[in-house]
């Protein structure tokens, strides 16, 4: 009885078994990369907003402190999105007739909120508190990036759990003196690790690694 398969089939079988390992590994790597890609994390993807608000103009151009608008960043979990009133503090005088501010004035007149699209959106089972991070010396720019160079707001960090844990495991790599928290032009010094360890001790920064720190 003749052989059903040609001799070369053995080679093909060996190669495909061996190759399957790479194929599976490749798939896993692909999934890993997709999960961290901007397509999923939306990092560096500018969102459409009802008003073309530029942080670059307001922060870098006008030198407005973060806390002028995000008033509750030092006292509450939520940093606060400014009420229309805050916009109108200046824009009742400056660009008071500009057409691109129509919807701000409309909101102020009609008492209807401006519907901003969330850029930094944590899942509902994760509880983040701005006030404690700011109090412990995590700079705005550490997570939000160079906001003063963003004409349209976009995410700078993935906000995925591994990203959170990176800092929670090694706070000394990221913390800065409390006085520099709102400084957008702060650059980490060369001896960051040394400084970080000093700050961790001084400011009682604990490595908050318990699940209940964020999930409850």
């Amino acid at each position: 009885m003749p052989q059903i398969f040609h001799r070369s089939t053995n080679t093909i079988a060996r190669v495909s078994i061996f190759g399957a390992l790479f194929f599976v590994a490749g798939l896993l790597y692909l999934a890993y990369q997709i999960d961290r890609s901007p397509w999923v994390t939306q990092v560096n993807v500018a969102r459409n907003q009802p008003i073309q608000f530029s942080h670059e103009r307001h922060v870098a151009g006008n030198g407005i402190d973060c806390r002028y608008c995000h008033t509750t960043v030092e006292t509450a979990a939520f940093a606060g999105i400014p009420p229309t009133k805050t916009c109108m503090n200046c824009h009742s005088q400056i660009f008071s007739n500009a057409p691109f501010l129509d919807s701000v004035r409309e909101s102020f007149r009609s008492d209807r909120s401006i519907a901003w699209t969330r850029v930094h959106d944590l899942p509902d089972f994760a509880y983040f508190d701005h006030s404690i991070h700011v109090a412990k010396g995590v700079g705005c720019a550490t997570c939000h990036g160079p906001v003063d160079k963003m004409p349209l707001m976009r995410k700078h960090s993935s906000l995925q759990m591994e990203w959170c844990l990176d800092c929670h495991r090694h706070p000394e790599r990221y913390v800065r003196p409390r006085t520099e928290v709102f400084n957008m032009s702060y650059v980490a010094p060369a001896n960051q690790l040394e400084l970080g360890q000093k700050l961790v001790a001084e400011n009682r920064i604990r490595k908050m690694m318990d699940c209940n720190t964020c999930h409850r």
């Binding site: 999105i81 006030s131 409850r216």
Partner: protein, 1023 residues
Amino acid sequence: MSSLKPDNAPEFWRTLAEKDGANLGELVGDEFASRLPGTFDQVERRAFLKLMGASLALAGMAGCTRQPPEQILPYVRQPETIIPGKPLSYATAMTLGGRATGILVESHEGRPTKIEGNPSHPASLGATDVFAQAALLDLYDPDRMQTLSHVGEILPWSAFIGAMRTVMTSQHATKGAGLRILTETVCSPTLAAQIEDVLARFPAAVWHQWDPGSELNAAAGLRLAAGTDLSAHYNVENAAVIVCLDADFFSCGAGSLRYARQFARRRRPEGAGCRLYAAETTPTPTGAKADHRLPLKPSQVESLARALAVDLGVAGVGRGTALSADAQAWLTAVRADLAAHRGSSLVVAGEAQPAVVHALAHAMNAALGNAGRTVLYTDPIDARPVDHIQSIRDLAAAMAAGHVDTLLIIGGNPVYTAPADLRFAEQMSNVRLRAHLSLHANETSAISHWQIPEAHFLEAWSDARAFDGTVSIVQPLIAPLYGGRSAHEVLAALSDRPERTSYQIVREHWQDGGSTRQDPPYTPRPGVPPNVSRPGLARETRREVDPAFEAFWRRTVHDGVMANTTLPTRAIGPIGAIAAFSASPATPPGGIEIAFRNDPTVHDGRFNNNGWLQELPKPLTHLTWDNAVLVSPATMTRLNGTATPDFTGGERGQIHGSVVEIRYRGRAVRGAMFPVAGHPDDVATLHLGYGRTRTGHVGRDRGFNAGALRTSDALGFGTGAQIALTGDTFPLACVQYHHLMEGRDIIRAVPRAELAALKKEETEFPSIWPVLTDEQEKVADYKWGMSIDLNACNGCSACVVSCQAENNIPVVGKTEVMRGREMHWLRVDSYHQGEIENPKSYFQPVPCMHCETAPCEPVCPVGATVHSSEGLNDMVYNRCVGTRYCSNNCPYKVRRFNFLQYQDWNTPSLMLGRNPDVTVRSRGVMEKCTYCVQRISAGRIQSEREGRTIQDGEVKTACQAVCPTEAIVFGNLNDPNSRVSKLQAEQRDYALLRELNTRPRTTYLAAITEMNPDLATKNGHKP
């Protein structure tokens, strides 16, 4: 006595089956027996596999979706005090039976989310009862009446004002002879002034009051004793001996929270001690706390009171019927104890007993010199004290005679609650114009022309007096969700300024000097413009505001109590021989006696549509969702009835009780029979508030209407009833058989005399785990722990509802409770000791123990339950895949699984009430007590921001915060000076199932008994 642990087999039992020595193996073993219908249709194996395969594939796909974009809607003009995400607390008050209890309500951006007690209010002292906790769910109830309607036609508020104007015009000629107003008990000074104002303009109109939820017999008894209308309250701080005559002193009535706290403080080891005697019919939490409980037929309580009064030297008292030997022995001991504690004892009569028993109790207190020390008398708290029974009788008679042209019913549900013999619904149909203000569309609304949605007390301004007269301003937390109107606004419709808001009405009342019965807390200054609400003065003037008033008003609203409004106590004269004392009670006829009681959770039916209260196991019976015919086990056997526990998936959540027909005075109802240990024989307790025909979808068709039997001459109890089996059975959802103790040693009690000699249990048990030392456990700043004092707990279950409100715990419904799937993170078990006829009962709240070596943790395949550095046993919902291994491995059975989608994710109003700081769990996720980790986090963040550590008492768990008896204490065990450390160091501290070496962080303090040595052995209790 050296150790807490009893040497012999457990003397405690939880269920009648255990007491009878039923084969536990049989009870536990038949795991899959069930008479419940399946949740799903029968599916073939192939179809099942297909569905599962597809589900798995789709679930994988679903995991790949990106988060949908969300919006942020900031304020246009942000209110000054509001920080988004930071709750604010406002003081207000809740009334029940007219009396106010001060509360603090937490508000998240204008949405009330949690109710706590107001520590500065005398009736609360920081605690609340179950009703106040559950009031939140009533506020958001989607079944509330939502539109104002007239004979089915939806109309605006102005139409009602117009209708009232017509009424006023037509009633003008007769001075209001055809106008009747029916209210519940009114303790609101403003509302009373408004009604008096209407009566002043229509002198022939009549104000009736009917409130089955208030203390009618107590008021009548005091009137009988003192000859005038008074109010009484108690000071348990001074009471070394308390005798309750069918009185559920710690869980019913105004002031009960305060009494429970004072009693618990006296009973602490360092307290002065307090011996409690209770003669009662239905086993109640008060009876369970009693050192000597005497089960008695309700008709015999009067004879017992008479015998006691004669012995204590009250003049002119005739003896009643003969007492049993047990009762005689009890009486002898009580008399001696009372005589030894003149001036520091207290006799309390219960609401179900007739006025004469209350009068006797006051006479005994007077004879013992307790008046002014443990019993305090004040002018009446009610704005206009009346005999409610006579009042509703008069109204029914007037309606029957056609004298009533317009009936305005302000709150309440008289068609359902009025005694059956008055045939209220039938008489009401004779009234030409019927208007009803109500939270829900109920039986009374159904036959009213005008159906007016009522504003919930969290939606409207009002005021009310507490049990001691202290006035609170009721402040709204939210604008009416369904356009509801308050009683003040409805009554204003009968004035010449009908458009005033409740705020204007209440504020103007106090601006004008408030109540006339007392020195006004704020006195108007001369020169301030006159009261514009006075009749005849239609001139609208904008009132000049006196800065002193503004300060007074702000202070009062902020504090939740009005300063200097507590009524002064007054003496009452000697209570002499009253005619009612000499008359001997008639010997009751044979047959069964019926005791009518307000239900422990749905009260007189007003909380019937509240899922939290419906699902809350009733103390001692552990029934949910239904009422039952409660009888003694002996009576049940005599009547050939049965109550068979049944089970699903190993959980025993159902009891099939024989359905019986109760015939009483020509009326009959049918209900399921349920045996209760400690219930006297030949008596059936029927709880009111069930069998509602018109209510929301939660309360509809639950239980039976015991009120259909109740007559106006015997509100508390009746004699001569017949009970007959019908041959049917009815499944009751009863959690008593869940989590059986299976022979383990769980409850500890120690006599006060042996406290000093007590040694803490310290034996080490062999373990396969490395045993951590205390030093090894001290890895973080905090080591959280909890101490639960069984001596203090009186089973009120406020902690259970508080936990439910704080932690977004869903309601699962009767069918699911019968499968043993209730979701409460905290349960209050009850245990009994001694004979079935009269056991001593104990309560034990059981939350997650947060074991140091938690058995649930190593068995989780996905690491969803892990230990935190501070010793918490964390539950990570987003990791949980629902294997339920943790629950199987938990020896305390405190883990709860979302078998189905229990949480309501669709009803918008219910979403408003959720706590935004706690994840709302979905189907397929395990959950359990977290030690209120959101509160710990908030406390930690606050303290870290301020550069300090969390102070003792700064973080309170939800269950701890509401506890009237301070039974639950939470804190840091690393701090040797914290309250919890000190309590856990007490000799009577013990860990539940310590032999398992789980090292629980929650431990218990043994109960302390204060038996009378003369009675201890006679009562069947071990000394």
